[in-house]
């Protein structure tokens, strides 16, 4: 999902060279990819997710109060560029690199993916350093907070990728692909989330300047309202209360309780929805594979203790734990992602455990063990590739449920305050009165996104099911 080309692309490319000319790829992954891409559910689901990614990347281009270029008081300048945040820049640049890399057809997919991951990590690292610096300055009095620690951890991760990726790329195709994918996940983590403290922007200055006829000309984005533009000037300028207006031409989805444009908030909220789904599920899958793998490989005592852990975490309702943690530790998007991830590993662990319990009896695993292969190599290089594919199905459903969880929390008033989120908009629908836009659009967005991931999951399940192969 982090790459905007359709996800089955790597699956379609056969790994045993020369497959491109054959009508049906021989490799298992290739066949599954073909079956997957052939289903309408997968196409519709992926199309929606790709749309969301595009909206997330181009959000500032689509909806912003800042004119791209304007001539005011006889000077030409670009307020839009001046107010571009670090995340906006990383997203746009990284998307541009992806587009450029798509052109180089001759270079293998793995190498292009690795190059892209490296460049994105570099961009993210630069932006994260700047965020950390700003964070340090703004919180100088009460010391670095939890967010700062997380940013530093991410910086370390990014640094590691910047170093390891070129080395691994020299080593060979598989390693290149793996490190590239991990790099994507960590680098992508920064993509959607902005940690730099919000700047104090006066959004109404452009409208006021235009009204005062100080502006010769200006080029505005298609939707000339930023998500946090509460139109404080509307009351004095037009005499209309900008709050809770039903959809009109200027505000296609109306305005919210604070007077901000709902469509603009919806577009910018795609970032949080995508980020929470990917990162929370990424953490859950990693933890699940690790714990489940150890349980399945060692069996016996490790398994018994692991199963108790599994029971403990499946007995605590995630939503309750999250509500509690938000209440006790404060609102924090990062913490929310981590907690959804940390409590969500159970399903994956059970699955991998069952798979590994079967695999450990296999001859090739026994042989690897007898050869003195190190444990991590047995676990991750020999056993994991044979048991991991169905986890993708679970992960797709996991993303859907992570998005649901975030929107539920925001709905209950436990989400972020300033940052736009679908759940938070839906929460206002209860008090919206005539503003039917709030009742329908945020709910529809959550529904469609969850539906899309569920469709993708279903399609993957069908594609992986050997009984469905003709």
């Amino acid at each position: 999902m982090t790459k905007s080309t359709p996800a089955p692309a790597p699956g379609n490319s056969p790994q045993n060279g020369g497959g491109a000319t054959k009508p049906l790829p021989r490799s298992f992954i290739g066949q599954v990819g073909m079956r997957f891409a052939g289903q309408w559910g997968a196409r519709v689901g992926l199309a929606w997710v790709v749309t969301l990614v595009l909206l997330a990347v181009f959000a500032p281009l689509l909806a912003s109060s800042h004119p791209f270029v304007w001539k005011a008081d006889g000077e030409v300048s670009s307020p839009w560029l001046e107010h571009l945040t670090a995340v906006d820049a990383v997203l746009l640049l990284s998307f541009a690199t992806a587009m450029v890399l798509l052109i180089f057809r001759r270079v293998s997919v793995g190498a292009r993916l690795a190059a892209w991951a490296w460049l994105t990590s570099l961009l993210a690292a630069v932006a994260a350093t700047r965020s950390a610096q700003q964070l340090l300055e703004s919180q100088a009095d009460d010391g670095p907070g939890l967010v700062f620690v997380l940013v530093v951890l991410m910086l370390i991760g990014l640094g590691a990728i910047l170093v390891v990726l070129p080395i691994a790329s020299a080593a060979g195709g598989r390693a290149k692909l793996t490190v590239g994918l991990v790099g994507l996940l960590i680098g992508g983590g920064f993509w959607f989330a902005d940690v730099s403290p919000p700047a104090n922007v006066v959004y109404s200055q452009y409208r006021e300047a235009a009204a005062a006829e100080r502006v010769d000309w200006m080029v505005l984005p298609p939707l000339a309202y930023s998500p946090n533009d509460y139109q404080r000037d509307a009351m004095s300028a037009t005499g209309v209360d900008p709050r809770l207006l039903p959809p009109t031409l200027t505000h296609p989805m109306g305005t919210d309780e604070g007077g901000a444009d709902v469509l603009s908030r919806m577009i910018h909220a795609t970032r949080i929805a995508l980020a929470i789904g990917l990162i929370a599920t990424g953490i859950a899958v990693a933890l699940g594979i690790l714990i489940g793998g150890l349980m399945g490989y060692f069996a016996g005592w490790v398994d018994l203790i692991g199963m108790r852990l599994v029971e403990i975490f499946s007995a605590i309702p995630v939503i309750f734990l999250l509500i509690m943690i938000v209440a006790f530790y404060g609102r924090n998007l990062y913490l929310m992602m981590v907690i959804i991830g940390v409590t969500g590993w159970v399903g994956y662990a059970i699955f991998i455990r069952a798979e590994f319990l079967k695999l450990r009896r296999m001859d090739y695993v026994q042989a690897a063990h007898a050869c003195g292969t190190p444990l991590w190599s047995i676990l991750f290089k020999h056993m994991l590739p044979n048991g991991v594919t169905p986890v993708l199905v679970l992960a797709s459903f996991g993303i859907a449920s992570a998005i649901l969880t975030e929107s539920t929390l925001s709905f209950l008033g436990l989400g972020l305050v300033e940052e736009p989120s679908w759940g938070q908009l839906l929460n206002q629908a209860r008090r919206a009165g005539d503003q039917w836009g709030l009742t329908w659009f945020p709910g529809l967005a959550i529904f469609l996104t969850v539906f899309a991931y569920n469709l993708v999951g279903e399609a993957m399940r069908d594609a992986l099911d050997p009984r469905s192969a003709d």
């Binding site: 734990l321 539920t408 209950l412 839906l426």
Partner: protein
């Protein structure tokens, strides 16, 4: 089988303990700690003396001066039916009370009844806490009050955590007494001051008495507002149970019928239609469904068919139980009123379940209908009804049984959201409120109930599985 149940029951306790520990330590290590103590009832920041006092009272109630693990142990001891007694639970008998009060009777600092009973409470608490004879302690305290300097030792005896300024203030007032001419008025003032501080420091001070574990009534503690948690739960749990008891059978009935029908007429209009509809329904977020239902079916603007909030009408307590006709026309009665209020919340809880369960039912039915044993049955000439119900259906129910365990905790979670949207005072809403108020006892009690519910439903699942499928045996 019996040994299996026993083993599972034994394993249930460590798991439950783990659940409680996770939740407890998440709370204990939070930077703000328990209780919104820095805010008073009006939501304003309390300052200085008030805030410190509130914090201290909280510390004593929860034993916050202990290490965190010991706090957890203390809570476990409190809720367990077998455990050590707390010194604060040891109350004096009527005669002992009278005797203790008699010791102080007639003293100038115990002139009023309130002062006398305060002294008695001080003696009661300190005696329990330090394991002394109450009467001896009373005598000693009376003697010590004549030389106020000696009273300062009592504070260390009960591990009171006085701040430095307080200690200095007390010492200064005692020292000031020495320098003054020792007139009656001064002495009385200092005595009263000491007793006031001592009473505050002693109140609620309690520690585990490690004498002999005994059976006792499990105590879930009190909420921050001072209500008994057990009582509150008894009030709230039936509401959530009612919601779930209505929801679960509804889910099963609808899922089984539609699943059966869809499998029976595979590829027909119902099969295709319900398949698509359920796939969509499954993805509709509960919060959106709730908002839509309230907006369009409980709103003056559109249709005001159902109430938007609560479980009863305001007048419900005055209604007859069953609907009736009287001179005022039709009166719906308590039962119908409750059901009327429950329509939207239950609808909100069940639609997701329909989707999943009927899909599972259809899949299992299809698998079985194409299985060899069904073909054999047909070949033997078993009637179609018999094939469907006795052969295929019985085998298709297994996955539905497995899903009970998934559905129980899921409904419990669902009730968090549904109860909050529809303002129903059930367990879920209680849990959300408890977390918001940082109320430790309430959060732990909710976790205990939720955890027990989840774990027992898993156990029941496995047992049902063995009963429904003779091939499954756990021995």
């Amino acid at each position: 089988m019996l040994s299996y149940i026993l083993r599972r029951l034994l394993l249930l306790f460590p798991t439950l303990l783990g659940v409680l520990a996770v939740v407890f330590f998440v709370m204990a290590f939070s930077p703000g700690g328990f209780g919104g103590t820095s805010l008073n009832a009006e939501g304003a920041q309390t300052e200085g003396e008030d805030a410190r006092r509130a914090q201290k009272a909280l510390e004593r109630r929860y034993g916050l001066d202990l290490p965190k693990a010991a706090q957890f142990g203390r809570w476990l001891n409190q809720v367990s039916p077998i455990g050590f007694r707390m010194s604060g639970d040891l109350k004096l008998s009527e005669e002992e009370r009278a005797e203790v009060e008699a010791v102080f009777a007639g003293q100038p600092y115990a002139a009023r009844d309130a002062e006398l009973s305060r002294l008695r409470l001080i003696v009661e608490t300190i005696a329990g806490y330090t394991d002394q004879e109450p009467l001896e302690l009373a005598e000693r305290l009376r003697a010590d009050l004549e030389q106020p300097a000696a009273v300062l030792d009592y504070f260390s005896e009960i591990d009171a955590s006085l701040s430095e300024s307080e200690t200095a203030e007390l010492i200064a007032s005692v020292d000031g007494l020495k320098e003054a001419d020792g007139s009656e008025g001064d002495l009385l003032r200092v005595q009263k001051k000491l007793l006031q501080v001592l009473a505050f420091e002693a109140s609620g001070r309690s520690r585990i008495r490690y004498d002999r574990p005994a059976f006792k009534a499990p105590d879930l503690g009190q909420t921050l507002r001072g209500r008994d948690v057990g009582e509150l739960l008894l009030e709230r749990v039936p509401v959530t149970l009612l919601l779930n008891l209505l929801a679960i059978p509804l889910i099963y009935v609808v899922a089984i019928t539609s699943g059966l029908y869809a499998a029976r007429h595979k590829g027909g209009w119902f099969d295709v239609g319900s398949g698509a509809a359920f796939l969509g329904l499954w993805s509709v977020p509960t919060i959106w469904a709730g908002v839509l239902l309230i907006t369009y079916f409980a709103n003056e603007q559109y249709l005001r068919w159902f109430p938007a909030a609560g479980l009863h009408d305001l007048q419900a307590s005055g209604m007859a139980f069953l609907p009736s006709w009287n001179e005022g026309g039709f009166e719906r009665g308590w039962l119908l009123d409750t059901l009327w209020h429950l329509v939207l919340p239950v609808l909100c809880m069940v639609y997701g379940g329909f989707a999943v369960m009927s899909k599972v039912m259809r899949g299992a039915m299809l698998d079985n209908l194409s299985a060899d044993f069904v073909r054999t049955a047909r070949a033997k000439g078993v009637a179609e009804g018999g094939v469907l119900w006795r052969h295929a259906f019985r085998n298709s129910v297994l996955p539905l049984i497995t899903m009970v365990s998934g559905i129980l905790p899921a409904l419990f979670v669902g009730s968090f959201v549904v109860e909050t949207i529809f303002s129903i005072n059930g367990l879920g809403k209680l849990g959300v409120e408890a977390a918001f108020q940082k109320d430790r006892e309430l959060v732990m009690a909710t976790t205990l109930i939720g955890g027990l519910l989840g774990l027992t439903s898993e156990l029941i699942r496995d047992l049902c599985y063995a009963i429904a499928d003779p091939r499954v045996s756990y021995d």
